[in-house]
Amino acid sequence: MSDLETRLKRQLAAQSEQLPSSAFGIDAAVGRGRQRRRRAIALSSVGGMLAVAGLLIAGGALLESTNSRSETVFADQPQPERVPEPRSRLDPPEDAPVPQTVENGRPTLEIDPDSNTIPATQTTMIDGATTVGPGHGAETPTTVSSTAALSTTDRPEAPGAPTTEAATTGVRSTAAAIDRLPDGSVLFHSDHEGCADIEDGRAHADWIEGQAGSGLNEDGTPTYGFAFNSGDSTNGDIDWGFVERPDARSGRCVLSMALNRADTGDDAIRLFRRYDRNGSPLPAAAYYSAWLFLPEEVVFDASGSVDGRDVFGFWNVFQIKNDVAGGDDRRSMSAFSFNAGRLPDEPFMSLSVYSKVPCGGAEDCDQAFTIEQQQPIAIPTGRWVHFELYLASRSGADGELQVWQDGRLILDYVGPTERTSTVRRTWALGNLGLLHHRPSATVLVDDPLISTRPIHPELFD
């Protein structure tokens, strides 16, 4: 052992001895672990009963014939195990304790069950309750709890009921967030002012800023950002553009995406961003932020049939995509799909993430999995909601994906996060789905921003 190593050992021992004893004891760990275990087992039991009921109803034949390997990932596992899960999100049973107002000496905030919001008068640490789906398998499913230190003051007010002068005059904008972020940390942003119309070839300047050529994405040139729609906009199946809205989150204009057919899977609206403002591919690790306004709830069936093929219902509002190895600039594969909406038996809409990372470049993927909240947070309708992702795109077990809703950490995944071997990533805002109960679904987006630094919702006010 070298002198330095000897010195290090002595130094570390000295510093260690200076540390106070931990404020936590075994009771704290066991109490917290036991609480989660009970909740998970209870949820698992209910989920299991539903699964059995589903088997009985379906006669088993259809279910056994599926080769599905969709799974729920336990986000805290160093080596995520993949256990098949039902997707249904369930209210915790009465004997499953929910986070209390004080946990380990640190106050947490309670959600108002009526409005599903945190009372704006409280400013403290909130329990971010990163939880991953109820499960049942050989092992007790994991409930992960992460805590995010966030201020809940100055929360964005619902459109139509502004309480601040800024809200009524449209002063709020991405400029406020940019001013508060370190120089050079903003990779892309748009306030959508100017109300351009991409469908007519006048893409919003922010989205295609600096790109070579005039095409959006059909001319084969590398594009900084572009639109890619499927379906037919001429007959009203899709309808979108940058439009003036009195309830814009900032300024006057927002990106509006209306999907008027969700019965075939052919209709989709997506707006992509692939490069930063300087023409460099988006980095492996970055924060992606956008404000979404969902005017109405979307309910979809779990499964059904379209044109003779078995399909599953969903509503996608944004995605992270990876380019396919081989360098075709326009060919990208979904790595993470961020889905909203709810199933008929669920109490409210909430966000879950569907990952195709295990599929590599294969389009016909049967190894996808879903990352869900165990105690889902509702996505409210009729007001602006802030979503933020942190993606550390890596092919190994050290990849990370975290999702915040209105500043609250709702999903936390550790594991591979790259679907293909290429380095380029694309962020997509979109509106597409299947098996919706109502044909139309609208997504409004404002103030999208990509940064190398965390983006709090409070930055925008």
Binding site: L8, E17, S21, G33, T66, P84, S145, S230, L434
Partner: protein, 192 residues
């Protein structure tokens, strides 16, 4: 050219994974045994994990919470975690990842040289150890990854393989990080 839109495929497997009922007696015995095992594990490992996290993170309160979080998760799934080769490594890793997440979100990734105000008891426990301020400052300037390796190897005296497990990296990575960390420390100390 068709842009794949990432439709979910077969999201609802329900034919497997239903928990089988267990005998209540055997379940109870197993639970008692597992609790005892966990208590034993906690008694031996919790303090070391907390101290290692504190020195790596440079934040005592965060380390306390991180260690507690790791232990709670270990208790929750002790039937599995208890059979790992290095449950302590697993707990350390969960705690470190949890803390990283907190630091990232709060934008506080710059570590300070302060490991927290020592308590009176801490002062009394310093017998025989003098703090080497130069080395302490140099340690604080290392990256979190490098410092985590140094702390696990020289404070907890974990093997390379246990350190690799705890950090979720290859053994070769542990060795290279350690070598780089030592080189950086030497350089910083020489410049003083």
């Amino acid at each position: 050219m068709v842009e794949p839109i990432g439709l979910p495929m077969r999201v609802f497997p329900v034919s497997t994974g239903v928990r089988q009922p267990q005998s209540s007696i055997s379940s109870t015995r197993r639970a008692v045994g597992q609790d005892q095992q966990f208590q034993e594990f906690y008694r031996h490992e919790a303090d070391g994990i907390y101290r290692a996290l504190a020195l790596a993170l440079g934040d005592v309160e965060l380390a306390q919470e991180a260690a507690n979080e790791g232990m709670a998760r270990a208790y929750q799934r002790w039937t599995k975690i208890g059979n790992y080769d290095s449950p302590a490594g697993w707990v350390y890793r969960v705690g470190l990842n949890w803390a990283r997440s907190r630091l990232r979100k709060t934008g506080n990734e710059i570590l300070t040289t302060d490991t927290g105000e020592p308590t009176a008891a801490g002062h009394q426990a310093r017998v025989g150890h003098e703090v080497d301020q130069d080395l302490r400052d140099a340690l604080a300037k290392l990256s979190l990854d490098a410092r985590a390796v140094v702390v696990l190897r020289y404070l907890l005296e974990w093997s390379t393989i246990d350190t690799a497990t705890a950090l979720g990296v290859a053994q070769g990575t542990v060795k290279s990080r350690l070598a780089r960390a030592l080189a950086e420390l030497e350089k910083m100390l020489e410049e003083r």
